[in-house]
């Protein structure tokens, strides 16, 4: 079994950074809810609070790593223009998708949308990490901020899932 350099980098982008990020959402949701629920909330020790703070920061870093690797390493391969007269477009995914009316939509929806909405995940997750680092358990006293943290986390998850599904089908 052989894997090219491009395939390896794409795997790192999607299956390492991306998949690890998606898996981490469950833990963040549970931790944020447990700490910031307005009744019967969990009061973590300092080390537990720091652990969750680092956890959320690492989530944001994973999102940034996935997005930056995707935009500046993998996306150029995707959108590469073939030399004039090229008949085999397998090495030029964007052109390959656009060459057939049946698959052109996968470029429009699968890639053109994904390449933009992907950036909202690291931005929103950075905000969530900041909110928890700054407020910690005080989030339970700021219900709108707590709700914003939950919504931002959930939105990051949705965008991550969309990215994965859209990329998978576009391929």
């Amino acid at each position: 079994m052989e894997i090219t350099f491009r395939e390896a980098l794409t795997i790192v982008h999607g299956m390492f950074f991306g998949a690890l990020l998606l898996l981490s959402f469950a833990g963040s949701a549970i931790g944020l809810y447990a700490i910031s629920a307005s009744t019967n909330s969990w009061t973590p020790s300092l080390s537990q609070r720091n652990f969750l703070s680092v956890y959320l920061a690492v989530m944001a870093l994973l999102a940034w790593a996935a997005v930056l690797l995707g935009a500046y390493a993998i996306y150029p391969w995707y959108r590469a223009h073939p030399p004039a007269g090229t008949l085999d477009l397998t090495g030029y995914p964007q052109r390959l998708l656009l060459s057939n009316a049946a698959t052109a939509g996968w470029h429009d929806i699968g890639m053109e949308w994904k390449e933009h909405i992907a950036w909202l995940a690291p931005i929103s997750l950075t905000a969530v990490a900041y909110l928890f680092a700054h407020y910690g358990t005080d989030l339970r006293f700021h219900k709108p901020l707590r709700n914003a943290a939950f919504c931002s986390t959930r939105a990051g998850l949705h965008r991550g899932v969309c990215r994965g599904l859209l990329r998978r089908h576009a391929q």
């Binding site: 429009d108 933009h116 909405i117 931005i123 900041y130 407020y135 358990t137």
Partner: protein
């Protein structure tokens, strides 16, 4: 550390972070649509040729994020802004940004 007494920190910094993230999302949508609709702008936003206009769209959206976060933090330092209004504005901006990046909506707005 938090306890069951009154909140220890004002909500201003948090509100700034939330709204700034939403502003970044909306800026991303506006720039994506503009780059798609105006070829000359797309060329200007082509900060790195291999990535194309996406490089400029996202770089400027991130700059807008940082600038708005800094400005809002300065404005709301030590204050408790109306978080309901902040969250509503943030939600509208984020939804707007998402819609503006959605290709069928982009095509609809450009009458394609």
């Amino acid at each position: 550390m938090g306890d069951n007494s009154a909140p220890m920190r004002v909500s201003g910094p948090g509100a700034a972070a939330v709204l700034a993230a939403a502003i970044a999302g909306f800026a991303l949508g506006v720039l994506a649509l503009a780059a798609d609709a105006i070829p000359a702008l797309a060329r200007i936003l082509n900060f790195w040729n291999l990535t194309g206009p996406l490089s400029g769209v996202t770089d400027i959206a991130i700059i807008a994020w940082f600038v708005s976060w800094f400005a809002l933090s300065r404005r709301w330092v030590g204050r408790n802004p109306n978080l309901q209004r902040v969250n509503l504005a943030a939600a509208l901006l984020l939804v707007g940004g998402l819609l503006l990046t959605f290709p069928p909506v982009m095509d609809l707005l450009q009458d394609k």
